[in-house]
Amino acid sequence: MTKKVEYWVKIPFGPIHPGLEEPEKFILTLDGERIVSVDVKLGYNLRGIQWIAMRRNYVQIMYLAERICGICSFSHNHTYVRAVEEMAGIEVPERAEYIRVIIGELERIHSHLLNLGVVGHDIGYDTVLHLTWLAREKVMDVLEAITGNRVNYSMMTIGGVRRDIEEKHKRLLLEMIKYYREVLPQIEDVFLHDSTIEARLRDSAIIPRKLAIEMGAVGPTGRGSGVKDDARWSERLGVYPDLGIKPVMPEDVTGEKARGDIYDRMAVRIGELWQSLELIEHALDQMPEGKIKTFPKDNVLVAKLKILGDGEGIGRYEAPRGELVHYVKGKKGRDGPVRWKMREPTFPNIFAIAKGLEGNQLADVVVGIASIDPCLSCTDRVAVIKDGKKFILTEKDLLRLSIKKTREINPDIKGDPTPAGVGCSRGVLL
Protein backbone atom coordinates (compact mmCIF):
# COMPACT_ATOMS: atom_id res chain seq x y z
CA MET A 1 0.00 0.00 0.00
CA THR A 2 1.77 3.18 -1.10
CA LYS A 3 2.46 5.53 1.77
CA LYS A 4 -0.11 8.28 1.36
CA VAL A 5 0.82 11.51 3.17
CA GLU A 6 -2.30 12.95 4.69
CA TYR A 7 -2.68 16.08 6.72
CA TRP A 8 -4.99 15.58 9.68
CA VAL A 9 -6.52 18.38 11.67
CA LYS A 10 -8.05 17.75 15.09
CA ILE A 11 -11.03 20.04 15.62
CA PRO A 12 -12.68 20.24 19.03
CA PHE A 13 -16.40 20.39 18.34
CA GLY A 14 -18.22 21.90 21.27
CA PRO A 15 -18.60 22.24 24.15
CA ILE A 16 -20.17 25.64 23.54
CA HIS A 17 -21.15 25.51 19.90
CA PRO A 18 -24.19 27.05 18.20
CA GLY A 19 -24.95 23.83 16.40
CA LEU A 20 -25.20 21.70 19.51
CA GLU A 21 -27.73 22.70 22.09
CA GLU A 22 -25.89 21.04 24.96
CA PRO A 23 -22.25 20.98 25.93
CA GLU A 24 -20.65 17.82 24.68
CA LYS A 25 -17.22 17.62 23.19
CA PHE A 26 -16.43 15.59 20.09
CA ILE A 27 -12.74 15.58 19.14
CA LEU A 28 -12.79 15.01 15.39
CA THR A 29 -9.69 13.92 13.51
CA LEU A 30 -10.10 15.32 10.04
CA ASP A 31 -8.38 14.50 6.79
CA GLY A 32 -9.25 17.67 4.88
CA GLU A 33 -13.03 17.65 5.22
CA ARG A 34 -13.37 13.88 5.80
CA ILE A 35 -13.72 12.65 9.39
CA VAL A 36 -11.29 9.95 10.37
CA SER A 37 -12.14 9.32 14.00
CA VAL A 38 -14.43 10.79 16.66
CA ASP A 39 -13.73 10.83 20.37
CA VAL A 40 -16.52 11.74 22.78
CA LYS A 41 -15.88 13.65 25.99
CA LEU A 42 -18.97 14.01 28.12
CA GLY A 43 -19.27 15.43 31.57
CA TYR A 44 -19.95 19.09 30.95
CA ASN A 45 -23.51 18.62 32.04
CA LEU A 46 -22.97 16.74 35.28
CA ARG A 47 -25.06 18.01 38.17
CA GLY A 48 -24.68 15.14 40.60
CA ILE A 49 -28.30 13.98 40.35
CA GLN A 50 -27.68 10.48 41.67
CA TRP A 51 -25.66 11.86 44.54
CA ILE A 52 -28.38 14.40 45.43
CA ALA A 53 -30.99 11.63 45.22
CA MET A 54 -29.32 9.82 48.09
CA ARG A 55 -30.39 12.69 50.36
CA ARG A 56 -34.01 13.02 49.17
CA ASN A 57 -37.21 11.05 49.86
CA TYR A 58 -39.45 9.44 47.26
CA VAL A 59 -41.67 12.43 46.55
CA GLN A 60 -38.81 14.97 46.38
CA ILE A 61 -36.99 12.80 43.85
CA MET A 62 -39.92 13.14 41.47
CA TYR A 63 -39.13 16.87 41.12
CA LEU A 64 -35.46 16.00 40.61
CA ALA A 65 -36.25 13.27 38.05
CA GLU A 66 -38.27 15.70 35.96
CA ARG A 67 -35.44 18.26 35.77
CA ILE A 68 -32.93 15.78 34.39
CA CYS A 69 -33.92 16.85 30.88
CA GLY A 70 -36.21 19.68 29.92
CA ILE A 71 -37.57 18.16 26.74
CA CYS A 72 -38.36 14.66 28.00
CA SER A 73 -39.20 15.57 31.58
CA PHE A 74 -42.44 13.56 31.62
CA SER A 75 -40.66 10.39 30.43
CA HIS A 76 -38.17 10.50 33.29
CA ASN A 77 -40.91 11.06 35.81
CA HIS A 78 -43.03 8.31 34.29
CA THR A 79 -40.19 5.73 34.34
CA TYR A 80 -39.11 6.60 37.88
CA VAL A 81 -42.69 6.28 39.10
CA ARG A 82 -43.12 2.92 37.36
CA ALA A 83 -39.90 1.65 38.96
CA VAL A 84 -41.09 2.68 42.44
CA GLU A 85 -44.55 1.19 41.83
CA GLU A 86 -42.99 -2.10 40.75
CA MET A 87 -40.70 -2.16 43.79
CA ALA A 88 -43.41 -1.25 46.28
CA GLY A 89 -46.20 -3.16 44.47
CA ILE A 90 -48.64 -0.24 44.19
CA GLU A 91 -51.77 -0.51 42.03
CA VAL A 92 -52.53 2.28 39.53
CA PRO A 93 -56.18 3.10 38.74
CA GLU A 94 -57.30 2.50 35.13
CA ARG A 95 -58.07 6.15 34.35
CA ALA A 96 -54.61 7.28 35.51
CA GLU A 97 -53.02 4.83 33.05
CA TYR A 98 -54.94 6.39 30.16
CA ILE A 99 -54.02 9.94 31.24
CA ARG A 100 -50.35 8.85 31.38
CA VAL A 101 -50.62 7.58 27.79
CA ILE A 102 -52.17 10.86 26.60
CA ILE A 103 -49.57 13.12 28.25
CA GLY A 104 -46.74 10.81 27.13
CA GLU A 105 -47.88 11.01 23.50
CA LEU A 106 -48.34 14.80 23.69
CA GLU A 107 -44.76 15.10 24.89
CA ARG A 108 -43.62 12.81 22.05
CA ILE A 109 -45.29 15.09 19.50
CA HIS A 110 -43.70 18.22 20.96
CA SER A 111 -40.25 16.57 21.22
CA HIS A 112 -40.32 15.15 17.68
CA LEU A 113 -41.48 18.45 16.15
CA LEU A 114 -38.68 20.18 18.06
CA ASN A 115 -36.13 17.75 16.64
CA LEU A 116 -37.46 18.05 13.09
CA GLY A 117 -37.00 21.83 13.38
CA VAL A 118 -33.48 21.53 14.84
CA VAL A 119 -32.37 19.15 12.05
CA GLY A 120 -33.82 21.54 9.47
CA HIS A 121 -31.98 24.41 11.17
CA ASP A 122 -28.70 22.50 11.21
CA ILE A 123 -28.65 22.11 7.45
CA GLY A 124 -29.26 25.83 7.10
CA TYR A 125 -32.93 25.42 6.21
CA ASP A 126 -34.31 27.98 8.65
CA THR A 127 -37.77 28.04 7.13
CA VAL A 128 -38.26 24.46 8.33
CA LEU A 129 -37.25 25.47 11.86
CA HIS A 130 -39.70 28.35 12.00
CA LEU A 131 -42.63 26.45 10.53
CA THR A 132 -42.23 23.27 12.60
CA TRP A 133 -41.78 25.27 15.80
CA LEU A 134 -44.85 27.31 14.92
CA ALA A 135 -46.78 24.05 14.54
CA ARG A 136 -45.30 22.89 17.87
CA GLU A 137 -46.79 25.87 19.71
CA LYS A 138 -50.21 24.23 19.29
CA VAL A 139 -49.28 21.18 21.36
CA MET A 140 -47.53 23.41 23.91
CA ASP A 141 -50.80 25.30 24.43
CA VAL A 142 -52.70 22.06 24.98
CA LEU A 143 -50.04 20.84 27.43
CA GLU A 144 -50.17 24.15 29.28
CA ALA A 145 -53.95 23.97 29.48
CA ILE A 146 -53.88 20.45 30.95
CA THR A 147 -50.80 20.58 33.14
CA GLY A 148 -50.27 24.29 33.80
CA ASN A 149 -46.71 24.58 32.43
CA ARG A 150 -45.24 24.49 28.90
CA VAL A 151 -42.19 22.42 29.91
CA ASN A 152 -41.55 20.41 33.13
CA TYR A 153 -45.20 19.52 33.74
CA SER A 154 -45.23 17.41 36.92
CA MET A 155 -48.28 15.32 36.05
CA MET A 156 -47.09 12.05 37.59
CA THR A 157 -47.24 10.88 41.18
CA ILE A 158 -46.48 7.44 42.60
CA GLY A 159 -49.74 5.52 42.24
CA GLY A 160 -51.45 7.68 39.64
CA VAL A 161 -51.65 11.15 38.12
CA ARG A 162 -51.86 14.57 39.74
CA ARG A 163 -54.46 16.29 37.57
CA ASP A 164 -57.49 15.02 35.69
CA ILE A 165 -58.49 15.58 32.05
CA GLU A 166 -61.88 17.30 32.14
CA GLU A 167 -64.38 17.89 29.36
CA LYS A 168 -62.78 21.13 28.09
CA HIS A 169 -59.38 19.44 27.81
CA LYS A 170 -60.97 16.70 25.69
CA ARG A 171 -62.34 19.29 23.28
CA LEU A 172 -58.91 20.98 23.14
CA LEU A 173 -57.24 17.64 22.39
CA LEU A 174 -59.66 16.73 19.59
CA GLU A 175 -59.30 20.19 18.05
CA MET A 176 -55.48 19.85 18.22
CA ILE A 177 -55.63 16.46 16.50
CA LYS A 178 -57.71 17.97 13.69
CA TYR A 179 -55.14 20.82 13.35
CA TYR A 180 -52.26 18.35 13.10
CA ARG A 181 -54.12 16.22 10.56
CA GLU A 182 -53.80 19.23 8.19
CA VAL A 183 -50.28 20.39 9.16
CA LEU A 184 -48.42 17.06 9.37
CA PRO A 185 -48.76 16.17 5.66
CA GLN A 186 -46.92 19.40 4.78
CA ILE A 187 -44.10 18.71 7.25
CA GLU A 188 -43.95 15.10 6.04
CA ASP A 189 -43.74 16.35 2.45
CA VAL A 190 -40.83 18.64 3.35
CA PHE A 191 -38.87 15.94 5.08
CA LEU A 192 -39.50 13.09 2.67
CA HIS A 193 -39.68 14.67 -0.77
CA ASP A 194 -37.62 17.88 -0.68
CA SER A 195 -34.51 17.74 -2.88
CA THR A 196 -32.18 19.66 -0.53
CA ILE A 197 -33.10 17.60 2.49
CA GLU A 198 -32.85 14.42 0.47
CA ALA A 199 -29.43 15.47 -0.81
CA ARG A 200 -28.16 16.30 2.69
CA LEU A 201 -29.75 13.50 4.68
CA ARG A 202 -29.62 10.48 2.42
CA ASP A 203 -26.59 8.25 3.05
CA SER A 204 -24.97 10.54 5.61
CA ALA A 205 -23.90 9.47 9.12
CA ILE A 206 -24.94 5.90 8.44
CA ILE A 207 -25.29 3.50 11.40
CA PRO A 208 -25.41 -0.06 9.98
CA ARG A 209 -27.69 -2.57 11.75
CA LYS A 210 -24.78 -4.61 13.15
CA LEU A 211 -23.22 -1.47 14.69
CA ALA A 212 -26.64 -0.40 16.06
CA ILE A 213 -27.08 -3.74 17.85
CA GLU A 214 -23.49 -3.76 19.10
CA MET A 215 -23.82 -0.26 20.49
CA GLY A 216 -27.32 -0.95 21.79
CA ALA A 217 -28.80 1.99 19.86
CA VAL A 218 -32.40 2.59 20.93
CA GLY A 219 -35.40 4.59 19.78
CA PRO A 220 -35.57 6.26 16.35
CA THR A 221 -31.77 5.82 16.01
CA GLY A 222 -32.04 2.05 16.49
CA ARG A 223 -35.27 1.65 14.55
CA GLY A 224 -33.78 3.78 11.73
CA SER A 225 -31.10 1.10 11.36
CA GLY A 226 -33.59 -1.76 11.39
CA VAL A 227 -33.58 -2.83 15.09
CA LYS A 228 -37.26 -3.69 15.74
CA ASP A 229 -37.63 -2.64 19.40
CA ASP A 230 -40.02 -0.23 21.13
CA ALA A 231 -40.07 -0.26 24.95
CA ARG A 232 -43.85 0.28 25.18
CA TRP A 233 -44.39 -2.66 22.83
CA SER A 234 -41.71 -5.05 24.14
CA GLU A 235 -42.62 -4.23 27.76
CA ARG A 236 -46.40 -4.52 27.24
CA LEU A 237 -46.57 -1.34 29.28
CA GLY A 238 -49.80 -0.38 31.09
CA VAL A 239 -52.69 0.11 28.64
CA TYR A 240 -50.52 0.47 25.51
CA PRO A 241 -51.20 -3.06 24.17
CA ASP A 242 -54.96 -2.51 23.94
CA LEU A 243 -54.38 0.86 22.20
CA GLY A 244 -52.66 -1.07 19.39
CA ILE A 245 -48.99 -0.09 19.73
CA LYS A 246 -46.34 -1.45 17.38
CA PRO A 247 -42.81 -0.16 16.62
CA VAL A 248 -42.67 2.26 13.67
CA MET A 249 -40.05 1.11 11.16
CA PRO A 250 -38.72 3.18 8.22
CA GLU A 251 -40.36 0.72 5.79
CA ASP A 252 -43.88 1.79 6.85
CA VAL A 253 -43.06 5.48 6.14
CA THR A 254 -40.63 5.51 3.21
CA GLY A 255 -41.43 2.16 1.70
CA GLU A 256 -37.74 1.20 1.33
CA LYS A 257 -35.65 -1.00 3.59
CA ALA A 258 -33.97 0.73 6.55
CA ARG A 259 -30.49 2.05 5.63
CA GLY A 260 -29.66 3.61 9.00
CA ASP A 261 -28.97 7.10 7.67
CA ILE A 262 -30.36 10.37 8.96
CA TYR A 263 -33.19 10.23 6.42
CA ASP A 264 -34.54 7.00 7.91
CA ARG A 265 -34.32 8.34 11.46
CA MET A 266 -36.38 11.35 10.41
CA ALA A 267 -38.87 9.05 8.65
CA VAL A 268 -39.27 7.03 11.87
CA ARG A 269 -39.94 10.24 13.81
CA ILE A 270 -42.62 11.33 11.35
CA GLY A 271 -44.19 7.85 11.51
CA GLU A 272 -44.27 8.13 15.29
CA LEU A 273 -46.00 11.52 15.07
CA TRP A 274 -48.85 9.91 13.14
CA GLN A 275 -48.93 7.00 15.60
CA SER A 276 -49.12 9.35 18.59
CA LEU A 277 -52.15 11.10 17.13
CA GLU A 278 -53.96 7.76 16.78
CA LEU A 279 -52.93 6.66 20.29
CA ILE A 280 -54.36 9.85 21.81
CA GLU A 281 -57.60 9.39 19.90
CA HIS A 282 -58.06 5.77 21.03
CA ALA A 283 -57.10 6.67 24.61
CA LEU A 284 -59.62 9.52 24.70
CA ASP A 285 -62.59 7.39 23.78
CA GLN A 286 -61.56 4.28 25.78
CA MET A 287 -60.90 6.26 28.99
CA PRO A 288 -63.14 4.99 31.89
CA GLU A 289 -64.36 7.22 34.74
CA GLY A 290 -62.93 6.81 38.23
CA LYS A 291 -60.33 8.19 40.61
CA ILE A 292 -56.90 9.17 39.37
CA LYS A 293 -54.56 8.31 42.26
CA THR A 294 -54.48 5.64 44.98
CA PHE A 295 -53.09 7.82 47.82
CA PRO A 296 -54.83 11.20 47.85
CA LYS A 297 -52.21 12.88 50.10
CA ASP A 298 -48.44 12.83 49.56
CA ASN A 299 -47.47 12.39 53.22
CA VAL A 300 -49.74 9.33 53.37
CA LEU A 301 -47.85 8.16 50.28
CA VAL A 302 -44.40 8.63 51.90
CA ALA A 303 -45.54 6.83 55.07
CA LYS A 304 -46.89 3.90 53.00
CA LEU A 305 -43.68 3.76 50.98
CA LYS A 306 -41.66 3.61 54.17
CA ILE A 307 -43.42 0.33 54.98
CA LEU A 308 -43.94 -1.09 51.50
CA GLY A 309 -40.65 0.11 50.06
CA ASP A 310 -38.56 -3.04 50.04
CA GLY A 311 -36.77 -4.77 47.14
CA GLU A 312 -35.86 -3.59 43.65
CA GLY A 313 -37.85 -2.24 40.74
CA ILE A 314 -37.08 -1.64 37.06
CA GLY A 315 -39.05 0.95 35.05
CA ARG A 316 -38.83 0.88 31.25
CA TYR A 317 -40.59 3.36 28.95
CA GLU A 318 -40.13 4.64 25.39
CA ALA A 319 -39.01 8.25 25.72
CA PRO A 320 -39.10 10.29 22.48
CA ARG A 321 -35.39 9.57 22.05
CA GLY A 322 -35.46 5.87 22.87
CA GLU A 323 -35.80 3.30 25.61
CA LEU A 324 -35.40 4.82 29.07
CA VAL A 325 -34.57 2.56 32.04
CA HIS A 326 -34.77 3.50 35.74
CA TYR A 327 -33.65 1.20 38.56
CA VAL A 328 -34.81 1.83 42.13
CA LYS A 329 -33.76 -0.13 45.19
CA GLY A 330 -35.52 0.58 48.47
CA LYS A 331 -35.04 -0.65 52.05
CA LYS A 332 -37.76 -0.89 54.70
CA GLY A 333 -37.83 2.06 57.10
CA ARG A 334 -36.03 4.54 54.82
CA ASP A 335 -38.22 7.26 53.34
CA GLY A 336 -35.94 7.55 50.30
CA PRO A 337 -34.57 4.93 47.88
CA VAL A 338 -31.17 3.40 48.70
CA ARG A 339 -30.08 3.47 45.08
CA TRP A 340 -31.61 5.15 42.05
CA LYS A 341 -30.01 4.91 38.63
CA MET A 342 -31.29 5.91 35.23
CA ARG A 343 -29.93 5.24 31.77
CA GLU A 344 -30.97 7.67 29.05
CA PRO A 345 -31.47 6.76 25.40
CA THR A 346 -28.81 9.28 24.39
CA PHE A 347 -26.03 7.38 26.17
CA PRO A 348 -25.75 4.44 23.70
CA ASN A 349 -26.89 6.61 20.77
CA ILE A 350 -23.99 9.04 21.24
CA PHE A 351 -21.43 6.23 20.92
CA ALA A 352 -23.34 4.74 17.99
CA ILE A 353 -23.32 8.06 16.09
CA ALA A 354 -19.67 8.66 17.02
CA LYS A 355 -18.82 5.42 15.19
CA GLY A 356 -21.33 6.20 12.43
CA LEU A 357 -19.78 9.61 11.69
CA GLU A 358 -16.42 8.26 10.61
CA GLY A 359 -15.85 8.62 6.89
CA ASN A 360 -18.38 11.46 6.60
CA GLN A 361 -17.67 15.13 6.09
CA LEU A 362 -17.43 17.85 8.69
CA ALA A 363 -20.69 19.28 7.41
CA ASP A 364 -22.47 16.07 8.44
CA VAL A 365 -21.29 16.16 12.04
CA VAL A 366 -23.87 18.59 13.35
CA VAL A 367 -26.72 17.05 11.39
CA GLY A 368 -25.60 13.55 12.38
CA ILE A 369 -25.47 14.52 16.05
CA ALA A 370 -28.77 16.38 15.84
CA SER A 371 -30.39 13.40 14.11
CA ILE A 372 -30.08 11.24 17.22
CA ASP A 373 -31.63 14.20 19.06
CA PRO A 374 -28.99 14.20 21.83
CA CYS A 375 -30.22 15.10 25.25
CA LEU A 376 -26.93 15.47 27.08
CA SER A 377 -28.56 16.80 30.18
CA CYS A 378 -29.97 13.29 30.61
CA THR A 379 -26.73 11.58 29.92
CA ASP A 380 -24.56 13.14 32.66
CA ARG A 381 -25.74 12.20 36.09
CA VAL A 382 -22.90 12.34 38.57
CA ALA A 383 -20.67 15.41 38.53
CA VAL A 384 -17.13 16.07 39.55
CA ILE A 385 -15.87 17.97 42.54
CA LYS A 386 -13.06 20.52 42.50
CA ASP A 387 -11.54 20.58 45.96
CA GLY A 388 -9.07 23.06 47.48
CA LYS A 389 -6.35 22.36 44.94
CA LYS A 390 -7.32 24.70 42.11
CA PHE A 391 -6.16 23.01 38.94
CA ILE A 392 -7.23 25.47 36.28
CA LEU A 393 -6.95 24.40 32.71
CA THR A 394 -5.87 27.93 31.78
CA GLU A 395 -7.17 27.84 28.29
CA LYS A 396 -6.48 31.37 27.29
CA ASP A 397 -8.99 31.41 24.55
CA LEU A 398 -11.63 28.87 23.53
CA LEU A 399 -10.63 28.93 19.90
CA ARG A 400 -6.98 29.52 20.68
CA LEU A 401 -7.11 26.20 22.52
CA SER A 402 -7.86 24.49 19.24
CA ILE A 403 -4.92 26.30 17.66
CA LYS A 404 -2.61 25.11 20.43
CA LYS A 405 -4.00 21.60 20.09
CA THR A 406 -3.64 21.62 16.32
CA ARG A 407 -0.04 22.76 16.59
CA GLU A 408 0.66 20.25 19.37
CA ILE A 409 -0.79 17.28 17.61
CA ASN A 410 0.67 18.32 14.32
CA PRO A 411 -0.09 15.08 12.62
CA ASP A 412 2.51 12.35 13.07
CA ILE A 413 1.19 10.32 10.19
CA LYS A 414 2.77 7.06 11.12
CA GLY A 415 -0.59 5.35 11.75
CA ASP A 416 -2.61 4.97 8.57
CA PRO A 417 -6.15 6.32 8.97
CA THR A 418 -8.52 3.40 8.35
CA PRO A 419 -11.95 4.97 8.20
CA ALA A 420 -14.46 2.49 9.62
CA GLY A 421 -17.36 4.47 8.18
CA VAL A 422 -19.40 2.93 5.39
CA GLY A 423 -20.79 4.68 2.34
CA CYS A 424 -19.26 7.71 0.71
CA SER A 425 -21.18 10.97 0.49
CA ARG A 426 -22.62 10.66 -3.01
CA GLY A 427 -24.14 14.06 -3.81
CA VAL A 428 -27.27 13.44 -5.86
CA LEU A 429 -28.19 16.85 -7.11
CA LEU A 430 -31.31 18.31 -8.43
Partner: protein, 173 residues
Protein backbone atom coordinates in the same frame (compact mmCIF):
# COMPACT_ATOMS: atom_id res chain seq x y z
CA UNK B 1 -9.72 52.85 18.96
CA UNK B 2 -10.82 50.62 21.80
CA UNK B 3 -12.16 52.80 24.53
CA UNK B 4 -11.35 51.34 27.93
CA UNK B 5 -13.17 53.27 30.66
CA UNK B 6 -10.60 53.30 33.49
CA UNK B 7 -12.60 52.71 36.68
CA UNK B 8 -10.40 54.57 39.18
CA UNK B 9 -8.93 57.13 36.78
CA UNK B 10 -7.29 60.03 38.55
CA UNK B 11 -8.86 63.05 36.90
CA UNK B 12 -12.57 62.32 36.62
CA UNK B 13 -12.89 65.02 33.93
CA UNK B 14 -11.00 62.85 31.45
CA UNK B 15 -13.09 59.86 32.44
CA UNK B 16 -16.35 61.80 32.00
CA UNK B 17 -15.25 62.78 28.48
CA UNK B 18 -14.57 59.13 27.65
CA UNK B 19 -17.91 58.02 29.04
CA UNK B 20 -19.79 60.66 27.03
CA UNK B 21 -17.87 59.44 23.96
CA UNK B 22 -19.05 55.87 24.56
CA UNK B 23 -22.63 56.88 25.29
CA UNK B 24 -22.75 58.79 22.04
CA UNK B 25 -21.46 55.78 20.10
CA UNK B 26 -23.32 53.06 21.91
CA UNK B 27 -26.86 54.32 21.61
CA UNK B 28 -27.40 51.94 18.68
CA UNK B 29 -26.81 48.86 20.79
CA UNK B 30 -30.44 48.92 21.87
CA UNK B 31 -31.57 48.64 18.26
CA UNK B 32 -29.56 45.57 17.20
CA UNK B 33 -28.79 43.29 20.19
CA UNK B 34 -26.96 40.18 18.97
CA UNK B 35 -27.42 37.24 21.34
CA UNK B 36 -25.01 34.38 22.10
CA UNK B 37 -26.39 31.43 24.05
CA UNK B 38 -24.11 29.81 26.65
CA UNK B 39 -25.31 26.46 28.02
CA UNK B 40 -23.39 25.74 31.22
CA UNK B 41 -24.89 22.33 32.03
CA UNK B 42 -28.57 23.23 31.72
CA UNK B 43 -31.38 20.68 31.39
CA UNK B 44 -32.21 22.56 28.14
CA UNK B 45 -35.74 23.30 29.26
CA UNK B 46 -34.66 26.98 29.14
CA UNK B 47 -32.73 26.51 25.89
CA UNK B 48 -35.79 25.39 23.96
CA UNK B 49 -37.71 28.33 25.44
CA UNK B 50 -34.98 30.71 24.22
CA UNK B 51 -35.17 29.29 20.71
CA UNK B 52 -38.99 29.34 20.97
CA UNK B 53 -38.64 33.09 21.59
CA UNK B 54 -37.01 33.38 18.15
CA UNK B 55 -39.63 31.40 16.28
CA UNK B 56 -42.72 32.91 14.63
CA UNK B 57 -45.07 33.02 17.60
CA UNK B 58 -42.88 35.14 19.92
CA UNK B 59 -40.49 36.37 17.20
CA UNK B 60 -37.64 38.20 18.95
CA UNK B 61 -36.22 39.13 15.55
CA UNK B 62 -38.65 42.01 15.19
CA UNK B 63 -36.48 43.89 17.74
CA UNK B 64 -33.42 42.99 15.68
CA UNK B 65 -32.41 40.19 18.05
CA UNK B 66 -30.24 37.69 16.19
CA UNK B 67 -28.68 34.45 17.45
CA UNK B 68 -25.02 34.59 16.46
CA UNK B 69 -22.52 31.76 16.32
CA UNK B 70 -19.48 33.22 18.03
CA UNK B 71 -19.00 35.26 21.20
CA UNK B 72 -16.96 37.76 19.18
CA UNK B 73 -20.11 39.04 17.48
CA UNK B 74 -22.36 38.99 20.56
CA UNK B 75 -23.67 41.86 22.71
CA UNK B 76 -25.89 39.82 25.00
CA UNK B 77 -24.76 36.62 26.69
CA UNK B 78 -27.69 34.43 27.71
CA UNK B 79 -26.43 31.90 30.26
CA UNK B 80 -28.55 28.90 31.29
CA UNK B 81 -27.76 26.03 33.63
CA UNK B 82 -26.26 25.76 37.13
CA UNK B 83 -22.65 26.32 35.96
CA UNK B 84 -21.30 22.81 36.50
CA UNK B 85 -17.65 22.61 37.51
CA UNK B 86 -16.50 21.69 34.03
CA UNK B 87 -18.28 24.51 32.29
CA UNK B 88 -17.04 27.01 34.88
CA UNK B 89 -13.89 27.70 32.83
CA UNK B 90 -15.87 27.84 29.58
CA UNK B 91 -18.29 30.43 30.93
CA UNK B 92 -15.47 32.68 32.17
CA UNK B 93 -13.65 32.26 28.84
CA UNK B 94 -16.70 33.20 26.77
CA UNK B 95 -17.35 36.17 29.03
CA UNK B 96 -13.86 37.52 28.40
CA UNK B 97 -14.18 37.06 24.65
CA UNK B 98 -17.32 39.12 24.24
CA UNK B 99 -16.54 42.68 23.06
CA UNK B 100 -16.98 45.37 25.59
CA UNK B 101 -20.42 46.96 25.94
CA UNK B 102 -22.01 43.62 26.87
CA UNK B 103 -24.87 42.39 29.00
CA UNK B 104 -25.23 39.05 30.80
CA UNK B 105 -28.70 37.59 31.30
CA UNK B 106 -29.12 34.52 33.55
CA UNK B 107 -32.18 32.66 32.28
CA UNK B 108 -33.95 30.11 34.48
CA UNK B 109 -33.90 29.08 38.14
CA UNK B 110 -30.56 27.24 37.87
CA UNK B 111 -28.22 30.22 37.38
CA UNK B 112 -30.28 32.22 39.90
CA UNK B 113 -30.07 29.77 42.78
CA UNK B 114 -29.41 26.27 41.47
CA UNK B 115 -33.11 25.21 41.59
CA UNK B 116 -33.24 21.49 42.57
CA UNK B 117 -29.45 21.16 42.35
CA UNK B 118 -28.89 23.67 45.14
CA UNK B 119 -26.98 21.36 47.46
CA UNK B 120 -25.03 19.52 44.80
CA UNK B 121 -21.27 19.90 45.40
CA UNK B 122 -20.72 19.82 41.65
CA UNK B 123 -22.42 23.08 40.64
CA UNK B 124 -21.45 26.61 41.64
CA UNK B 125 -24.95 27.83 41.16
CA UNK B 126 -25.53 31.55 41.57
CA UNK B 127 -23.99 32.83 38.35
CA UNK B 128 -23.20 36.03 40.22
CA UNK B 129 -20.02 34.72 41.81
CA UNK B 130 -18.74 33.49 38.42
CA UNK B 131 -19.39 36.46 36.12
CA UNK B 132 -21.14 39.80 36.79
CA UNK B 133 -24.81 39.29 35.88
CA UNK B 134 -27.09 42.14 34.85
CA UNK B 135 -30.54 40.54 34.70
CA UNK B 136 -31.88 37.37 36.32
CA UNK B 137 -34.93 35.81 34.61
CA UNK B 138 -36.43 33.37 37.15
CA UNK B 139 -38.70 30.46 36.25
CA UNK B 140 -38.15 26.82 35.50
CA UNK B 141 -38.28 27.30 32.54
CA UNK B 142 -39.29 30.97 32.17
CA UNK B 143 -41.86 31.61 29.43
CA UNK B 144 -40.57 33.10 26.16
CA UNK B 145 -42.33 36.39 27.04
CA UNK B 146 -40.35 36.50 30.31
CA UNK B 147 -37.10 35.99 28.38
CA UNK B 148 -37.98 38.78 25.96
CA UNK B 149 -38.86 41.05 28.90
CA UNK B 150 -35.47 40.15 30.42
CA UNK B 151 -33.71 41.18 27.17
CA UNK B 152 -35.56 44.52 27.12
CA UNK B 153 -34.69 45.15 30.78
CA UNK B 154 -31.05 44.32 30.08
CA UNK B 155 -30.93 46.78 27.19
CA UNK B 156 -32.46 49.55 29.30
CA UNK B 157 -29.92 48.86 32.01
CA UNK B 158 -27.10 48.91 29.48
CA UNK B 159 -28.30 52.23 28.06
CA UNK B 160 -28.47 53.70 31.60
CA UNK B 161 -25.10 52.23 32.56
CA UNK B 162 -23.52 53.68 29.45
CA UNK B 163 -24.92 57.11 30.33
CA UNK B 164 -23.21 56.71 33.69
CA UNK B 165 -26.31 56.89 35.89
CA UNK B 166 -26.02 53.36 37.21
CA UNK B 167 -22.47 52.64 38.48
CA UNK B 168 -21.52 49.45 36.66
CA UNK B 169 -20.43 47.54 39.83
CA UNK B 170 -23.53 47.40 42.10
CA UNK B 171 -26.77 46.16 40.67
CA UNK B 172 -28.70 49.45 40.54
CA UNK B 173 -32.48 49.41 41.26
Amino acid sequence: MTIKVPADQGNSQERKRLEKRIAQLCRFIGKSPWVFHVNSGSCNGCDIEIIAALTPRYDAERFGVKLVGSPRHADILIVTGPVTNQSLERVKLVYEQTPDPKVVIAVGACPTGGSVFYESPFTNAPLDNVIPVDVFVPGCPPRPEAILYGVVLALEKLAKMVKGEVPPEEGGE
